[in-house]
Symmetry: C2
Subunit: 328 residues, 2 copies
């Protein structure tokens, strides 16, 4: 495919390199001239079959694109979408919140086929210098599917693209995605910050803190404006997800005040111990899923993922976890 990758940071740079390596024709663009220069050098020095180009203007990057992949931060999306006005092809993005982006794209590009995306890949580092064409291997990559709205051919094109990079394509509505990442990714950042705050004021506690504190607070060192943008940008879903955690913590707190805290805590902790030991689900039953939005969404809700598209038989190859329902 002819793909324009707009924004050449960690994710956009990795995506451009990965798609070029997979044989697609890539033109990248970044608003920052220095990033464009670095990326242009890297793109020209790639192996001959993995070369790609960097355009000097956004309009040149998208002029012949079949797919525009927006890899800019959320606050930069609106101006980029304004520049894309009139585009009618396939559009995807990689931002960590999907409901607000869906609204923005509908508003700016009513004739485009939008498939919101979110690769669950990251690194401690950022920027094009950290880009890695192997970043998406094995990662879950949400591809949004709104019944009655998303055109299935566009969704299938995105599924072909990301599964060819080794990612697991996870079908979900934007609302389902935003709820899921609130619990799985955004709330952990808030817990890490709260735990760090509790220990930070007590040098003795900080001196005694070891593995459980180290791991439980690792992401608290993330730049606060990034955590605030991520959690605040998904506040409608993060609030209720945090309420769920607070409810459990309230039960644990009450158990500590009871006459036999050890006995009261044990049954509250046992399900989490089992669930954590069973996570992550790395295998399951290989299944075939019809080219149908409802069937795909059902697969995503069950924790499953698409591994490939069989165009001849018009089915999707997929994996469905064996332990569905109560726990992962």
């Amino acid at each position: 495919m002819d793909v324009a990758v707009i924004g050449l940071g960690l994710i956009g740079g990795s995506l451009a390199q990965a798609l070029a390596t997979a044989g697609h024709r890539i033109i990248g663009f970044d608003a920052d001239p220095a990033t464009r220069g670095t990326a242009r050098t890297a793109a020209a020095q790639a192996a001959p079959q993995a070369r790609w180009q960097v355009a000097g203007r956004l309009r040149d990057a998208v002029a012949h694109a079949e797919l525009v992949a927006l890899a800019v931060p959320l606050p930069a999306l609106s101006p980029v979408l304004t520049e894309l006005a009139g585009y009618e092809g396939l559009v995807t993005d990689v931002t960590s919140v999907k409901g607000p982006v869906r609204d923005l794209v509908r508003q700016h590009l009513p004739a485009a086929a939008y498939v919101g995306g979110h690769p669950m890949a990251g690194k401690e580092t950022s920027g094009f210098a950290a880009a890695d064409p192997g970043l998406f291997t094995g990662c879950a990559w949400v591809l949004c599917l709104e019944p009655g709205e998303t055109a299935l051919p566009g969704w299938l094109a995105m599924a072909r693209l990301v599964t060819a990079l080794g990612a697991r394509a996870v079908p979900a509505t934007a609302a389902e995605h935003d709820r899921a990442v609130a619990a799985a990714s955004h709330v952990p950042h808030l817990l890490a910050a709260a735990l760090t705050t509790a220990v930070a004021g007590d040098p003795l506690a900080a001196a005694l803190a070891a593995g459980s504190f180290r791991d439980g607070t690792r992401v608290a060192a993330t730049r606060p404006e990034l955590i605030a943008a991520m959690c605040g940008g998904n506040a409608a879903a993060v609030g209720p997800a945090l309420d769920g955690v607070l409810k459990t913590l309230g039960e644990l707190r009450a158990a500590l005040d009871g006459p036999d805290p050890v006995a009261a805590l044990r049954p509250l902790l046992a399900p989490a111990s089992l669930a954590r030991a069973a996570w992550p689900v790395v295998a399951g039953t290989v299944v075939e899923v019809p080219w149908h939005a409802d069937a795909l969404l059902e697969l995503g809700r069950a924790g499953g993922w698409v591994t490939g598209v069989d165009d001849e038989r018009r089915v999707l190859r997929a994996v469905r976890p064996e332990t569905v329902g109560g726990r992962p």
Copy 2:
């Protein structure tokens, strides 16, 4: 020194091996005959200068001991202390709660010199098979010091012993220790369990969970009876420590409901980001501390640690973190 190590699990086994390697005369004992057998074989096969012995009966292990190190789980302490009745030498232990153990030892061994201990070392694995004489290198090892109660010569003997193993001796009262580990170690286990519970019921969220969930919940997979014993056995300190975290989470929750969550979250998250980036404190100012309980406790409260005992000059070599006060 002649040291009896009672209980040859991960910590006791490692301690016996580390002390034997450091040139002490060690007799170990474990209530489990199979563990005694395994330990006896390992002790006899150690390098000649690091050999040690395993007694078949508790009383034989302690008969000539200058120091009895109790490395049994908390519930096993009472029966062991009953068997030790009449012992008048130095006693230490390695359990993760210090107030209740102090009460038990005072009750059973009123004539003994007790210095409660807690090496902040551990592994995912347990049992003598996982023992490692290098386990304590670089770890913080709390040595309890109660003004007007702990005999300083006993405390200094323990400080010589653990610093010679490469550990940092951290002076603290039992109450200070129990408060510090509640925040630094016990509450993280409760947060990990609550976060796991929130995601466990949602297979889509579990499928999307990545690094922040993985690290934030790692310790939730610990056996629930161990977390319950640890947190429940220190309930009086864990409750208030959890309240501190809940207060911060309540502020974050309120920010999510406000008119501009991104702006409201940022200042709440910034101090934790700075504090986590500055943790752990691995260096500081090298200082000398007089042989005085108050001076030692002040060092511990400031996040400092003892690295050695200078018997000639009657001072302790110590490290005091440069960033004391507000954060670690």
